[in-house]
């Protein structure tokens, strides 16, 4: 392979327009102190020659790299990819993140990092040193990983922590898990349910706790009991199955169950079927995440939509703002989630009501 050099450089443009390199640079970067006429002339040459600045060279000379790193958990992401169950977290991140990046002339680079690895810092450093990104987006469970947060804080690089409430280095960006759980719970209460079970997600994710909190809060405000109605899960189908079985075999079984993700809701549907319960007539189910599978279940699942695309998009905006030297927002940024109504919720059965 022959070595490739930039075909058209700033030099060609400068020569063509009959100006200095610096003037071209100013035009590229939209800097002030260039006369309109000059600017136009340079722009004409740029267009004529099809010039595009080299990110490498820009980065080299100490300017921006126009690269934003989106970091996800390696193990979980690869497991999801291999499972092919339709989990589309990555797709939604790209949808929101890439498009927003493109709007601002940035590019999003997707990276996988091990949460548990004792080389986290080395992995991160490698990515940062190699790519020199202008900002980093952290997703759960990395967002609250003290080691990662501390390391990034020391790198003097703007970063957003998606799904985090904690103060500290970096910009936290919440998807309002507690509020969503409250919304789902109130929705069920509004339809007459009083015994509402909850299947929690993995402890490794802070959002699991927040979702439980929201459920508890909504139950409390309606003076409804929660005892024995909380079951631990870990987001896996198997854990959802176990949890659902325990809940549905309670002497006084719940008339509705909220599952902390779609897989566990799917398992709940299956257990209900197995026990001869019809959804939604005998049992109502609400799930979290709203991944593609909600369309395909029998009945389709009413679900809390995790606004991943919107969140990633906002994260990019926050990073670009930070890049420009703007202050980080004083308040925690919250992207709220909607409840999408489908077919898995009905009033509780008359016999129990």
């Amino acid at each position: 392979m022959a070595r490739r050099r930039q075909a058209v450089t700033i030099k060609h443009v400068a020569a063509d327009a009959g100006v200095s390199l610096q003037t071209v640079s100013r035009v590229i970067n939209n800097e002030p102190n260039v006369r309109a006429e000059m600017k136009q002339r340079v722009q004409a040459s740029i267009d004529k020659l099809g010039y595009v600045p080299s990110i490498a060279a820009q980065r080299m000379s100490g300017s921006r790299s126009y690269l934003i790193l989106a970091i996800n958990d390696r193990e979980r992401t690869i497991a999801d990819w291999r499972a092919r169950q339709g989990t589309d977290w990555v797709d939604q991140m790209l949808l929101g993140g890439m498009l927003k990046c493109a709007e601002h002339g940035y590019r999003m680079i997707f990276e996988l990092i091990d949460t548990h690895d004792d080389h986290v810092e080395r992995e991160l450093l490698a990515a940062i040193a190699a790519l020199q990104p202008d900002g980093i987006i952290l997703t759960p469970p990395h967002s609250d990983n003290p080691q990662i947060v501390a390391f990034l804080a020391g790198q003097n690089i703007p970063f957003v922590r998606i799904g985090s409430h904690e103060d500290g280095a970096g910009i936290p960006l919440s998807m309002d898990d507690e509020g969503s759980a409250r919304t789902a719970t109130r929705y069920l209460i509004g339809r007459g349910h009083a015994r509402i079970g909850f299947i929690a997600g993995s402890d490794e994710y802070n959002l699991s706790g927040w979702r439980v909190d929201g459920w508890r809060a909504a139950m409390a405000e309606a003076n409804l009991p929660t005892e024995a109605l909380l079951e631990a899960g870990d987001f896996s189908y198997a854990s959802g199955e176990r949890a659902a079985r325990r809940l549905l075999q309670l002497p006084q079984r719940p008339t509705a169950i909220i599952a902390s993700n779609d897989q566990m809701a799917l398992a709940t549907l299956e257990v209900a079927r197995d026990l001869g319960l019809t959804v939604p007539d005998d049992l109502s189910v609400i799930s979290f995440d709203n991944t593609p599978l909600v369309h395909f279940t029998q009945p389709p699942l009413t679900a809390i939509d995790q606004p991943i695309a919107a969140t990633a998009s906002r994260a990019v905006e926050l990073i670009i703002a930070a890049q420009k030297g703007e202050e980080r927002p004083a308040e925690l940024t919250v992207i709220s989630a909607d409840l999408v109504e489908r077919g898995s919720v009905a009033p509780p059965p008359a016999s129990i009501r």
Copy 2:
């Protein structure tokens, strides 16, 4: 934001090891002409200081960028992302491509380009000039787009055309669509089916035609008629619905249908239900792609698995090999697909058999 400079550079390493810059560079790039002892000393300094070479600087001085661009069709990709139907083409590409890249110290950058846009060249040029990738992976329908292929050929950059048979610039890499269609058809014939309908995909994709060819070939070799059994679709659910309805309302309806993708197979299932036909007892269905939804249909779909991850992985290998100056393979590289058996195929109904 303060300007960030590389924390540890080749200079620091050179100073620490007491050698010249050049020697460090040689060690980094694993070049010959360095004594083992020297190499070891330098490597020790690299590890100690946590040095990682800057891709920007490497690229600047005319070496590789260690970046591989994966290009997908913007319109279709975004539509899939928004539809949230679980299409996981992108995920599978990342799975295969990113992991293989990581193995070789490369990174995969995912880009979207408009097929129809008259600015294709400009968009491509922008990506290439900005990123200076070492290679490009084209996916359908870009793989056989003459404008794109011609443009890339002129850029002196290795590129792979996934899902392409055509000779010419770039390295074609086939997923054996014709063979897969033949496999699916033979599989049905083996189970006793004689009237096998086929729903084709969009003309915009060459693979649509190859799948039809495979079906035709398998039918021909068994001396089975194909007349009236081929219906056009465009990969959309709606088109699948129309096609399935026409096929199933034929005076002599098919006992099996092969749909060129999962969405159209899903539609076929729905039409069958609507017409009072049970799958698989009255009608067998095989779909293409094996996206996540195949698990969730009633019954789960027997499907041809498109080996996207394996193909992306191979594409990366081909590019890295080309980068090293190796000859492109003389033969067309073919990644073959498997048939995954689930619940949508049975022998034809006795009344027809």
